[in-house]
Symmetry: C2
Subunit: 468 residues, 2 copies
């Protein structure tokens, strides 16, 4: 599979202790959170940008597939070496190099864990807003490669808003720098933003300069229950009419609320509620208190009941802890779960839920939804419960059919098939639902501009598995 | 210069009344705000995306240079057809197609004037934040092509933060759509952000979907005078330590203050002040008032004097009107003015001013600075006054030498040679000061992925004038 002499040259570059080749040693490097593993032929743990450059030059010369791995928490198989080859695990590049409170910057290596970065900057009064659910496990490099989002994206935007500059190694070995420490930069093409969300297919990100913001002094959180999805969405519309820009607006549907109750013994809304909203505002203490009143008012005006305000950290943490338990709660119902992060214009969330109700009926499968209502970004979990194990193929076919209809539906609603998780290889067959042949061909030409021999993370994003 | 039969085919596509060929008619299409004109051979005023696609196909086939023009307010010659060929003026594509207050979106044609779009969305309680000084003249398409900024970028970011989706025509004629109406979208590469700021060299933008935000209910403005640039920058650092995120933080140096006084009979600070700051905060009335106090406190703590608060619209307008008069005031001193929009990490603004002081001495030319201190984005105006007319060549040489040293200096300070105006053709010779040969080569490959025959806006961005 791999050219003669390749192993020896990899050992020469990174050193013997940093090359793994036993089946047992490489196996963990073949999977991510998607759990559809494919073992690599070899794993290298480079310790520097220069070593990565040498590895890329070698792989390009010998046409060996090369897949970059961060913390392996992705949901679409972005880090899975489906064509074999070598995995470059960046686990040794895990240092925060610089936190600069005067210039509101952090300079980090890719395998810093996002939550640890947040803690470090908050200790000096700064704030790195993106907060994917995986933040205690996922690496900042992976967040950049996938353009991770999270609840706070409504006010603060996703990862891309915070990436100012990158050091990256091209698949052909050149080390390039994109952007600068300046917060505005229009010098040449914006390759920084092109690399953010490129799912490890264009270049290997080796250093990241992030923009930070001052930490908002106060947070306040409201949760409210509603008798319909429409009512919850009306509350969000009311909020916007009141000119409130909450940090987070999370929506949880009845199926998710029920699963949470079964799992945790408690939930985010009383039994029978069709939906719950969690709204968090932040700013100065006065501003946050003022907005808290407006959120309360907006929820009640839309028919919200059981409206609860959380002002203390403990009360807020309790709400967010329940929010984070949604995913484990659903896993208890069904270990097989197609987790889709579709996104529609916010006002069309009720139409998305109508579509989901129809798919639930047609597929005869439980489908539970929760997500970022402010962004119209809803995680639609199509589940195959244990009871379906006896006729698993049939159930999986129904699940896949529902998934395809979901994707077609969100595109018809002028949305996108992925708001956060990316395409990887699981969604690659559906790319053509959203993009035209001309658009896909253009993206492949961009891919070829970075990776002329198609060695970097092959088989990802593009429908035919070919890039270039 | 242009192939036989080209004119007839252009007339076939857009119709005779929309083709200009007289020298007098085409001349105004050869210049932008840079005032280094170059007349095109032909001007077409297409009326639809389809016509633009047909024109591109034709130009690509016949290898005719094609330059897209919006309102022609750029400072670096981005819209100037320096290689001749055809100018596509998008002046007929000037409609606001949709303002969607539920989904916080606007869909517009490229030649909508930015200020008119702002007025239209503000009438329905929404807000489009980017505010380049030219907003009453410049078109939103030009703003997107250049990634325009403005004072409000500190809090709200530049144009790129608001562009969700584009319809664009490739130089080879294909019509493509990038992004979607969803505020999050990680489906394939982010071509939207790649096109923003690409200076009309990658594709012809024919429709734009913009993200809007709720209009902040209240604004408050402070101006303060300082005895040194350092003191003014300390005030900004104080503000950030107080966790205030103003909408705008503008800095004006003594040379600009003096020019303004000579021009307008009044200024933004008392005579003798070394610097003035204008700080605007926004939000709810309570939040804005609270932040106003903090701004006042931060300015005084840094030694600010003559601290004036503007709460009424009239008082605020008076301050901003003076801010907008800075550029005309400088033009009165010197009709020749090298207007550079360099940018450094915010905390290094004092070092930038030290460099400017040295350049002022060495060049024996007046250099006046003002700009967006929160972003470290300072407009450095190197002026050639009327008194130098007698030995213009020598003065221009000194001005150019100062400009080059300025660029070298900002790169050494880890900044960028352009934060807002782009590279165009005037700054193209300096691209290599900031980007390495590998980085420039990569950008040229990206250019070729969009424009294989190099017909779209040739001679821009790249140092040798060649792209691809």
């Amino acid at each position: 599979m791999i050219a003669t002499g390749f192993l020896e040259r990899v050992v020469d570059i990174v050193g013997g202790p940093f090359v793994l080749q036993d089946a047992a040693a490489v196996a963990p490097y073949g999977a991510d959170a998607l759990k559809q593993p494919h073992a690599p032929d070899l794993v290298a743990l480079p310790g520097s940008t220069q070593e990565i450059s040498s590895l890329a030059t070698l792989c390009d010369e010998l046409r060996v597939p090369m897949v970059v791995r961060g913390a392996g928490t992705g949901y679409t198989g972005g880090a899975v070496p489906i064509r074999g080859g070598i995995v470059l695990s960046l686990e040794r590049l895990n240092q925060i190099l610089e936190i600069d409170p005067v210039n509101l910057l952090a300079r980090v290596q890719p395998n810093v864990i996002t939550g640890q970065l947040q803690d470090a900057v908050e200790r000096v009064g700064l704030f790195y807003p993106p907060d994917p659910a995986s933040l205690q496990q996922s690496s900042i490099g992976g967040n950049v490669a996938e353009c991770a989002g999270g609840p706070r994206a409504f006010k603060y935007g996703t990862t891309k808003r915070y990436v100012l500059a990158l050091e990256a190694v091209l698949p052909t070995g050149e080390i390039v720098h994109t952007g600068s420490k300046a917060v505005k930069n229009v010098v040449g093409y914006d390759l920084t933003q092109l690399l953010v969300g490129s799912e490890g297919t264009l270049a290997i990100i080796t250093e990241i300069i992030l923009r930070l913001v001052p930490k908002p002094p106060a947070q306040r959180t409201v949760r409210a229950a509603f008798s319909s999805i429409e009512a919850a969405v009306t509350a969000v519309t009311n909020l916007i009419q009141l000119r409130v820009v909450p940090a987070a607006i999370e929506l949880v549907d009845q199926h998710s609320l029920d699963a949470l109750r079964a799992h945790s013994g408690t939930s985010l809304a009383p039994e029978g509620a069709a939906a719950a909203l969690i709204v968090e505002v932040d700013g100065s203490k006065k501003a946050a208190d003022e907005e808290l009143d407006l959120v309360d008012q907006a929820c009640r005006a839309a028919g919200g009941v059981d409206v609860q305000r959380a002002v203390t950290d403990a009360d807020r943490d309790a709400i967010w802890q329940l929010r984070r338990e949604l995913s484990p709660a659903l896993k208890r119902i069904a270990s097989i779960k197609l987790n889709n992060d579709v996104v529609v214009p916010r006002g069309r969330v009720p139409q998305l839920f109508e579509l989901v109700a129809r798919l639930r009926q047609e597929s005869r499968l439980p489908i539970a939804c929760f997500g970022h209502a402010g962004d119209g970004n809803i995680h639609v979990n199509i589940m195959v419960p244990e009871a379906e194990r006896a006729r698993l193929d049939d159930a999986m076919n129904r699940a896949r059919a529902a998934e395809r209809q979901l994707f077609e539906g969100v595109v018809a609603l002028e949305g996108s098939i992925s708001g956060e998780h990316g395409i990887g290889f699981t969604k690659a067959p559906y790319l053509g639902l959203e993009l035209s042949p001309s658009e896909i061909a253009l993206m492949k030409r961009v891919k070829a501009a970075f990776d002329p021999h198609g060695i970097l993370n092959p088989g990802k994003i593009f429908p035919d598995g070919q890039a270039g």
